[in-house]
């Protein structure tokens, strides 16, 4: 496995059990993780996040994805008939177990999905070995 997501899961489950499922604590975005020969790709669901607040950083082998969804302006708490969507900062950390090329990381945000592409460092890429036939 290339990542540690258990803490977030445990925290969310704990929060849900304490709050009795009344309030939705969903501040760490759901992610899909992909890998091919060239890159590791992280896809994070961050619908309605202010694009300018999105922050992607890599510290050591820990990738941090953060963003913020502001509460809509001019809407008062009493205007809500129900309110399940979390507002405020959201954050998720993923531990990478493959060396990546730190200078070549790219990120795009489209249709509420943040896609972070982390090209693998040369030593992590599969390599073809020529067989010398004698």
């Amino acid at each position: 496995m290339m990542f540690d997501t258990d803490f977030h899961k445990t925290f969310n489950e704990m929060a849900r059990s304490i709050l009795g499922g009344v309030a939705e604590i969903d501040r760490s975005p759901r992610v899909n993780l992909y890998e091919n020969d060239d890159a590791v790709t992280v896809e994070a669901a961050m619908p309605g996040v202010d694009a300018g607040s999105i922050d992607v950083s890599l510290d050591g082998d820990t990738l941090t994805i953060a963003g913020e969804r502001k509460a809509p302006e001019g809407v008062d708490a009493k205007d809500y008939s129900w309110h399940e969507r979390a507002t405020g900062p959201m954050r998720r950390q993923i531990k990478l177990r493959r060396p990546v090329d730190r200078n070549a990381i790219t990120a795009t945000y489209e249709h509420g999905l943040l896609v972070v592409t982390l090209p693998k460092a040369a030593e992590a890429k599969p390599r073809k070995i020529d067989v010398q036939v004698k």
């Binding site: 496995m1 290339m2 990542f3 997501t5 939705e24 969903d26 759901r30 992610v31 899909n32 993780l33 992909y34 890998e35 091919n36 020969d37 890159a39 790709t41 896809e43 669901a45 961050m46 619908p47 309605g48 996040v49 694009a51 809509p72 809407v75 205007d79 809500y80 008939s81 129900w82 309110h83 399940e84 969507r85 979390a86 945000y109 249709h111 509420g112 999905l113 896609v115 592409t117």
Partner: protein, 128 residues
């Protein structure tokens, strides 16, 4: 049932929907000027993949997120699912005037009240 307020409906997939993995998206309902605004989170759903249907007073929101081809998927929390949620609208919602917009994976549905059911101010003629 309240004649005005939209309500959350128990979202039971129909028989034809039984072979899909459904996920109930989070939503908000706010009172807006002259009606309501329903906000539904649909990350990864593109406008052409969104199905928004009104049948009598049941509003159905359905859509599968689109994912890129990034290789082998080794961890998934949002793959192979389709968002599905149904809401029951009050009788006073003008269903023919519903408008919807999908931006950054968030669907906003404007649910206006019928003209005749909107609150109106009544001028009081004060006699002194």
């Amino acid at each position: 049932m309240n004649t005005t307020h939209p309500e959350k409906t128990c979202t039971m997939p129909t028989t034809s929907e039984a072979n899909t993995t459904w996920l109930t998206p989070s939503s908000d309902l706010t009172e807006a000027d002259g009606g309501f605004e329903l906000t539904v989170e649909l990350p990864g759903v593109t406008p052409d993949a969104l199905e928004l249907e009104i049948d009598d007073r049941t509003l159905t929101v359905k859509g599968a997120p689109r994912h890129g081809d990034y290789g082998r998927r080794f961890h998934q929390e949002l793959h192979g699912v389709t968002f599905l949620r149904r809401f029951t609208l009050g009788r006073d919602i003008a269903t023919d005037a519903i408008e919807a917009q999908l931006t950054d994976g968030v669907l906003r549905v404007r649910l206006p009240l019928r003209e005749e059911t909107r609150p109106r101010k009544i001028a009081v003629d004060v006699q002194r």
